[in-house]
Amino acid sequence: MLKIIVPTMMLIPSTCLTATKNTWLSPTAYSAVIIILGMLVLNPGDTLMNTTGLLLGSDQISTPLLMLSCWLLPLMFMASQSSMSHNPAQQKRLFITALALLQLALMLVFMALDLMLFYTTFEATLIPTLMVIARWGSQTERLGAGLYFLLYTITSSMPLLIALLWVYNMKGTASITLLQLLPPMTLTFWTNTLLWTSLMLAFLVKIPIYGLHLWLPKAHVEAPIAGSMVLAAILLKLGGYGLLRITNLLTEQTTSSYILPLAVALWGALMTGMVCLRQTDLKSLIAYSSVSHMGLMTSSILTHNQLAPSGSMIMMVAHGLTSSMLFCLANINYERTHSRTLLLTQGVQLTAPAMTSWWLLACLTNMALPPTINFIGELTLMVSLFDWADITIFLTGLSAFITSFYTLHMFSSTQQGTLPTHIITMSPTQTREHLLMTLHSAPSIALIFMPQLMYCQ
């Protein structure tokens, strides 16, 4: 574990000390090397934890997400190069430092074996993200967006702290490995529901679940490209990861309070899909589509079905890559036309046909087209829900239909239609952008052939 953490920590001084002409090159290359180091912990088929001591370890839930976050760091650097180009060198370094700190906190969350370390680093991810959104976002609304993001997450995780301390008190240990192995005690306290809610709420807000999702469109739209990428790809999955861990701990609670969030999440998946159809802002559309996908995942995890963890793992990795790719594509459009509205960026197939193929790939994966991993994940989640109750098939089927509807609407609005005369000539697509798209879609396609890397039993 240290072989990943220490290099990520050292990324910060090395960025500050490199020459100005290597400001982007050096961290990108460095973080690419960290990816390779990260692959050393990938251990499919191993149900025991890779551990080094009491605090850090990885298992089948955390390893794919760890890999995803390592993979995305060089991509974030590549994507921000153009939009940060007019900032002075010191601010570029500060930006890279913020992202590196965020990466450090994320790695520690995914590798944490101690509940307190998990909670601390979970909260610690908020600070660098707030820095990135509020400092380098581009509208005045970014301050409100940062505030919403911060307050929603912090308020919902206060009860989480108390509940985790209760768990430590009751069980005598805060170590996740040990907690999984302890025999369950049947608890019938009247505070069962309260405990369940306080443990779940933070993750439900983070995922986000439909009623508590207001922070997400704001934060995603106002963040700069790197912020949007990391928010959509990883920070949402923190909620999913937490949910998976906590449902393991709560096996003894006999409470039926899981039904309400399940129903709300499922309904929300459908509702946010319909909201997508009415969006005029491209980034806002992609943000709502994230809520929709995550809603399906939440309801599946809450059914406590056996298929749910593997389905949600596949869905998390797949959605992370796809959503990040869509945000990158939206940013590429924005850099050329300085406009995010679907109205003014129509018909770009005529000016940048190479990007159209990437748009098509991103939209197809977003729609969960077979045989992509998005499809596998979505199907597994739908099956797990169907197993729990037959009737959910109507909602999940309808939600999948609406997903394809708005995705194709997004594709045809941006690519086809009359090209406005003021963007007839756009600057050509750069190699960096093509590389970015390749690095997003290649793992997605490669994983079709080896999904065992993401399964967990």
Partner: protein, 488 residues
């Protein structure tokens, strides 16, 4: 003094109060206290939620449409962009105006007439649409009424325009009237005898024919229209700031036109706005820039084009819009035409109209080509009135032999030296600059229609209500003027 003090001491039967007794009005007091408390709370809470970093003076960092120029054209475009967008908050629109007192703006210095008596069908259609707009201006959802605010009083006097023509120009006048009637305007032709009967104060010497507009012609208050557009646009979410667009950050591309020649086109990426009275500037990332700068449109276009001369391409396009100064005089004549007075345009080009109901009149004349006044400032030349305007008016209206000049002012026409008609459309080489300028004196009356046309061009990529493609800027490159014969 001792006596009065003792008189004030409490005695049996005497109360301590010095004023008349008041009943303790518990419900009323409570009501007042509660409403005071509510107002205070509302104020405190709104202050709490006011973003301390949000600065009303500075523009946002990104706006889809930046409109340079806050006269009636700029605000009209802003209003129509918001009115015609498919969903709320699709576009962020920013209007940049450098002088919020409007001391030199053509809009507020205009005489404010509206007429349909043009010779180009497009001009007639624009004026007819604007007249319809002015008549329905207070309809809330459709036009400029804002719920909860007082109704707009545009002070539209529908007194009509009267064009007088000599023998030589009578045929052209008749032709123009037939074009106007074909478009649906209510314009009639009058012979000298009919003129004399209708307007007894008129001297029909030398007049062969006259055309009189019966409907939708007259004058209105330009300031009311400007503030109405402004108020409604701001209530719909248009951002505005006081500042001057001083430079653009552009990107250049080499392309080949359909005819085969090579051309360098450019794209405005950022607009740099200088804050008033300060060295500070703000960069706004923009997708489209609308040039609504009126008399200063050419200066703004040159700012956009100056970069291309740096890249050594020949400048193929120069916007032929220049400011031209025009004088307006106000006089009082007690024996004048009275209430039965249209906007009269004489055979010589002098014009006047009634102003208010007290015997005041407003008028002037466009000077000849070689007598153009200096445009450096807005000083009025009184000699011009004494020597050029008054004799002609006095000849036409004998009552004007005795008049007293009450005041005068001068304003700029954004004069299109090529063909005195509007320039509406995209710049040929700067791909995202849209012109809405060059109206040469009939801008105010066409502002609602022109604003709508430009908004449709931006949102739907083509004109929908009125086809104004003849007014595009390409006509300067191909050299075909679209001439308007009836310029005042």
């Amino acid at each position: 003094m001792m006596r009065t003090c003792r008189a004030l001491l409490p005695r049996p039967g005497r109360r301590l109060r010095s004023g008349p007794g008041r009943l303790w009005d518990l419900p009323g007091d409570l009501q007042k206290t509660v409403s005071n408390f509510q107002n205070q709370l509302k104020e405190n809470v709104t202050n709490l939620f006011k973003n301390p970093f949000f600065d009303e003076k500075r523009p946002p960092m990104q706006a889809e449409v930046v409109i340079a120029g806050g006269g009636v054209m700029g605000w009209s475009v802003a209003y129509w962009l918001k009115a015609l967008e498919p969903r709320k908050n699709t576009l962020r629109v920013l209007v940049v105006e450098r002088d919020t007192t409007y001391s030199r703006a053509s809009t507020v210095l205009s005489v404010g007439g509206i007429r349909q008596q043009f010779s180009l069908p497009e001009n007639i259609q624009m004026s007819r649409y604007s007249a319809y707009f002015l008549r329905t201006i207070n309809v809330c959802q459709e036009h400029l009424g804002v719920a909860g605010e007082p109704a707009i009083d545009i002070q539209f006097n529908p007194s009509g325009y009267l064009f007088l023509a000599t023998e030589e120009r009578a045929a052209m006048l008749e032709e123009n009237v037939s074009i106007q009637r074909a478009e649906g305007s209510e314009v009639i032709l009058l012979s000298p005898t009919q003129l004399k009967k209708k307007f007894p104060w008129l001297n029909t010497d030398g007049v062969a024919l006259a055309s009189y507009g019966l409907e939708d012609e007259g004058w209105f208050d330009p300031w009311s229209l400007l503030t109405a557009f402004r108020r409604k646009a701001i209530s719909m979410g248009v951002h505005h700031c006081c500042g001057e667009v001083t430079s653009f950050t552009m990107a250049f591309y080499d392309t080949v036109t359909p005819t085969g020649e090579e051309r360098t086109v450019s794209h405005i990426k950022y607009a740099r706005i200088q804050m008033p009275d300060s060295l500070e500037y703000c960069q706004v990332a923009c997708a489209i820039v609308v040039n609504a700068a009126g008399a200063w449109s050419r200066k703004l276009t040159e700012i956009a084009e100056v970069e291309s001369s740096v890249s050594k391409t020949k400048q193929i396009f120069k916007l032929p819009v220049e400011p031209k100064k025009r004088y307006v005089y106000v006089w009082h004549s007690p024996d004048g035409p009275g209430l039965n007075c249209p906007m009269l345009i004489d055979t010589t080009g002098a014009y006047f109209r009634r102003e208010g109901l007290g015997g005041n009149y407003v008028g002037g004349m466009s000077p000849a080509e070689d007598e153009e006044p200096d445009i450096q400032d807005l000083e009025v030349d009184h000699e011009f009135f004494q020597e050029k305007v008054w004799p002609k008016l006095a000849h036409r209206v004998p009552a004007f032999e005795s008049l007293k000049v009450k005041g005068s002012w001068a304003g700029y026409y954004d004069y299109n030296t090529f063909d005195q008609n509007a320039v509406l459309g995209l710049h040929p080489t700067v791909l995202n600059m849209v012109f809405v300028t060059g109206f040469s004196g009939h801008g105010l009356q066409q502002s609602p229609a022109a604003g709508r046309a430009v908004a449709e061009l931006i949102l739907n990529k083509k004109f929908e209500t009125i086809n104004l493609s003849r007014f595009s800027a390409d006509r300067f490159l191909s050299g075909e003027p679209v001439l308007e014969r009836n310029i005042v």
